[in-house]
Symmetry: C2
Subunit: 328 residues, 2 copies
């Protein structure tokens, strides 16, 4: 029997004997309204004597990724990846010089790339993410993440995850929740590292995707990533992605931007106990401060909705003792 099973057994026994809810695990959260709201919700849905008790199979929590679990400034990590990759592959693709968006990306002219909007970003994603198998893409992503550094913090991107949110993921799982990522980011960009970094298995990652085709190549069954959008898991796409992948309405949703609005609406509109939370980036010193006017992680309508709907708003500056895990 392996370590994981042993740990699960010990946890189960511990729960048997004590009924403890592992509240002591939210160590990086300051005492305050946000922490209290989380603990109170978890207590209500896990206490068999509570009228709000929810059976473990229905304890589903969904988390946005960019800006909710890891840094999204000064740009989405996946965009940094696409930019590095377009520059790396450019010598083999002289035809890219004829495409204004790709040329701008190669030249590092981010303003032109940004001005091309979603269509420009998609174009960038197509040429850098397709034309290989999922396994090959997995390797490309893993290699890049092992080397690339964030421009300000000079740390690997997978180190720039929010420690309080890692604790929250574990706390929920310790209390019988299944935790899902539901992100506008690429599903196959996140899966190579989501288990190691977040404890979230590949099957529990929902994201945007390009089309994939199955065929037998030289006698070998092969999946090939194609340069065509399959699904955009953002905004009104998030409840659709949740319905497709999870097939149950979550009871808790965690986001940080207007791209999470519909996920929070869909989650909290269900019957019974519901929980919605928004991470508000208020800490320019330790991380970033941005909301209504930001290009990445634009938070405007969802902030108003939080007030109207009673969702918990995390004030990063005052609610979090620590932002990132300590450097190793």
């Amino acid at each position: 029997m392996n370590i994981l099973v042993r740990v699960l057994v010990l946890k189960a026994l511990f729960l048997c004997l004590t009924g403890a809810a592992f509240a002591e695990s939210l160590l990086s959260w300051n005492d305050g309204a946000a922490k209290t709201a989380i603990e109170s919700f978890v207590k209500r849905v896990t206490d068999p004597a509570s009228k709000d008790f929810v059976r473990p199979e229905a304890r589903i929590a969904v988390f946005d990724n960019d800006g909710t679990l890891w840094v999204e400034q000064p740009m989405y990590t996946q965009l940094a990846f696409a930019l590095d990759r377009v520059r790396e592959l450019a010598p083999q693709h002289p035809e890219w010089q004829q495409n204004p968006v790709l040329k701008a990306a190669i030249d590092g002219d981010l303003k032109t790339v940004a001005a091309a909007g979603e269509k420009g970003l998609l174009e960038l994603v197509m040429v850098t993410h397709a034309g290989m198998t999922p396994a090959e893409f997995h390797t490309v992503v893993t290699d890049w993440l092992s080397k690339a550094e964030h421009s300000r913090f000079k740390r690997k991107y997978t180190d720039l995850v929010y420690k309080p949110m890692l604790e929250l993921l574990s706390y929920l799982r310790d209390n019988g929740f299944t935790t899902y990522i539901v992100s506008g980011g690429g599903i196959e960009f996140m899966r190579p590292w989501s288990e190691k970094v977040y404890g979230v298995l590949p099957a529990q990652v929902v994201g945007s995707s390009i089309k994939t085709r199955f065929e037998i190549v030289d006698g070998k069954p092969t999946l090939e990533r194609e340069p065509a959008i399959n699904f955009i898991d953002d905004g009104a796409g998030k409840p659709v992605g949740i319905n497709m992948h999870i097939g149950q309405r979550p009871i808790a949703a965690f986001g940080n931007s207007d791209g999470d609005l519909q996920m929070l609406q869909w989650t909290t509109a269900g019957d019974g106990p519901r929980f919605g939370l928004i991470v508000h980036h208020t800490d320019a010193e330790r991380e970033y401060a941005y909301d209504r006017t930001s290009a990445f992680g634009h938070l405007d309508k969802a902030l108003d909705a939080a007030a109207a709907q009673g969702w918990t708003v995390v004030d990063m500056k005052s609610d979090w003792k620590t932002i990132f895990p300590p450097a190793k």
Copy 2:
């Protein structure tokens, strides 16, 4: 603590103390090559001392549904559902009389419906499965299954599941596998009952789907099922559906027809220990006998591939002591 957690704890403790693999749970399987192949594979991948040991997170088993877990003759259950439903709704849709396929379905002229091929079937699915929320569709499916009876066995469809396969699902889960359904049938046609009947949670069901749209209706966040195909999870679609939903290559695949061929190829072509199995319907007396010439559950190329690839072929007549669970 609820019963389920108690049972899990007891199972975990039992595993701790004995390392037992619950082999005694395949009670409806006759001793023979098929049962031995299953037990030997499970033993190899769960024994930490084996060079073929697979960690629990990678122990993924995928099961076709129609003809692999439940009866698919004389027609797919979902087709029987669509036919009943088109007749039920026909009085409100006089325009359906102008459509040859829908008119044939209403009149019970199955020959004309069948002659319309996949396109005809899709037309039938569109008009009977869309125009409502997933929750409403869930209710429609549940209501129908609670009343409808199989024409030959005079039992509810959810009673016409294969007892040996139910035991196999449990046996794999007891050995740390996660079991998925990967079916050409509708994902939202299976999810309402998959947990109760198979112990397979909604998130572990992969299937065909129509498009779903999110919108706010009268202030209420709503998902609406639309009359447009989203994904066909059959044939070459199965490895694509697996990659999308599970994000890992399974180590074991179970099917019964050519629609499962690519799923079996994809699963068994991976590195390390792999297992492929085909249920061969050879028992006209207790169930049905069909393969190379059958319209439903057509098994031709996959049967040849099984011999060439060394996949296990279950001879229903000789390998299974019982076909269905006893009537209650």
